[in-house]
Symmetry: C2
Subunit: 333 residues, 2 copies
């Protein structure tokens, strides 16, 4: 910046003004300074700016799995909202590892981001506490929180109920819930919803736990189920997410079972690949775009409040799930 000032024949203060208060400076000098910047190819040092100015105008977003289109959609919606408001967005992927989640959070704290949007792995209180103590607002995504935080999530119990209720309506008496690990709140809630739907219906619910929520695990689970005894084998499956459902669809086909005639499948999230599957998958829609956008807006509101010292009421927002019935659960007969 010194060099720019020298070349333009002004002081560093004026160069700074050209950047931050362009109207405080004479048109002609502004011109000269901008020429100098261009000629020297000078790029302002963000660390120095941030250190002195004390604000970063940036936020962090951490999702637990960028390989899952569901999280990508949340991410994109939130990102766009921040972009529109002029914030710089730092993306982080915890990739289902708790240590990495913690690492990312610490990194954002050190970078003094204005706020963090977190789609957490399991119970994340330990991670968020540090942020909050440091006065950095945190909004939870994909999880409704009762504690002192804003959060945007879905009623997964209701979602699970909806999915299994739909299967019952199609006449199924033996249903399997496939998901895991059961340590994940989302998975647990969806299972609980499934159990609620089944209660007093006369139908039976098996719970099949898988290690992770991805396609490969779904395929394995399908193989396992397909090879079980005819008498015990469920006629319908509720998969904890669409990746599992897609894997199971392929697994069943590979085992010679037809979907939905031999086995019906319903997934969860309604990612684009669900509708695009060769047997279009029924699913429980999460309004991903609205959720991502809403979370971003909550965070922005909280940041604004924090900066102006205003009072802020944390609010947990819960979206409603919606059944999307496609061929994979609709009997052709």
């Amino acid at each position: 910046m010194k060099d720019v000032a020298a070349l333009a024949g002004v002081s560093v203060g004026t160069v700074s003004n050209v950047l931050n208060q362009p109207d405080r400076v004479l048109e002609s000098t502004r011109q000269r300074v901008e020429d100098a910047i261009r000629k020297l190819g000078w790029i302002r040092n963000e660390s120095a700016r941030q250190l002195r100015a004390g604000r970063s105008e940036s936020v962090g977003i951490v999702v637990m799995d960028v390989a899952n289109p569901y999280f990508v959609d949340l991410l994109l919606a939130a990102e766009e909202t921040f972009y529109d408001r002029g914030y710089t967005v730092n993306l982080g992927n915890s990739d289902q590892h708790r240590e990495r989640e913690a690492l990312l959070m610490r990194h954002f704290m050190r970078s003094r981001v204005d706020g963090v949007l977190l789609a957490p792995i399991g119970n994340s209180s330990g991670v968020t506490d540090e942020l909050l103590r440091a006065g950095i607002p945190v909004v939870l995504l994909d999880r409704v929180s009762g504690t002192g935080l804003c959060s945007v999530g879905m009623d997964d119990i209701e979602g699970g109920r909806l999915a299994v209720h739909h299967l019952l309506e199609q006449g199924h008496k033996r249903i399997a819930f496939v998901g895991g690990p059961l340590g994940l709140a989302q998975v647990r809630d969806r299972a609980r919803g499934a159990r609620l739907a089944v209660a007093n219906s006369g139908a039976h619910l098996d719970v099949v736990e898988v290690k992770t929520l991805d396609v490969e695990e779904g395929r394995k689970a399908a193989q396992h189920i397909a090879r079980s005894d005819r008498g015990i084998r469920p006629t319908a499956v509720f998969a904890a997410n669409d990746l599992i459902a897609i894997g199971m669809l392929q697994g069943f086909v590979a085992e010679g079972l037809s979907v939905p005639d031999d086995v019906a499948i319903i997934g969860y999230d309604d990612i684009d690949f669900a509708a695009a599957a060769a047997v279009p998958l029924s699913s429980i829609r999460q309004p991903r775009y609205e959720m991502g956008r809403c979370a971003a807006e909550l965070l922005l509101k909280e940041i604004t409040a924090a900066e102006s010292g205003d009072e802020h009421q944390h609010e947990p927002v819960s979206f409603s799930p919606e059944l999307v019935a496609r061929i994979s659960t609709l009997r052709t007969s």
Copy 2:
């Protein structure tokens, strides 16, 4: 930091040493300082550290589409490599927008990252030039570059040739290439490979351009092709990527055509969803993991060279494509 020093009864210099040169400091004082840090919940200011120390130990990665699993895999592989070497990784998603790509690059320059890994949109010379002038190493990913840059890509002409050669072997005489925009080098190269394969084979190649490389566009293209005249309709399709291929698969099924009996489909990238499709898709495999890893290592090498002032020879690395034949191109008869 001042507060920490005061509480621990030492100087700020000692606190700094505890963080950066732990063995220069007495075990007992280290203990005291660490206690003070914990008690105060102090978190070091990264901007200040970076400004003073002059190094960031961080890199930026920009991909053109996080919604495409292919790029996600490249990303994950590269990310892991950097993590292993202790680098902080900043993720960026240009989302197919050139302005956003430029924005991200400028952001990384201002943040003084040590290097940038870029999976660019189209021709990116303008964007990278600025970085290079600032002395920040850039490695191109998913693109082989002849210019003064390291790059990791694939021989897409060969990949296209391979795909169409496979279709010819299956006896197809009328083949469609579906991809776009043709402005993308990858798409152009794959099309050129297709043309090479067809040349002098007696077969015919149609080129169908689509707007973007996603599932929805594939579905539309399939509908269009399915409804064309029986005599003109291609019996096989080479899709420029797997998203298009997946969309086309669904589109054909929706139009009552069977894959592969009525139309064969081969995709490109071999993303996990390709094998998981209900009609498992043939594809051209890109060694994503190796490519991501290799690009990261090239960048690290260049960063090291830049820091020590050593000479650095740019090298364009090109991986070889591999045919993965699955049911979608194998005649059942």
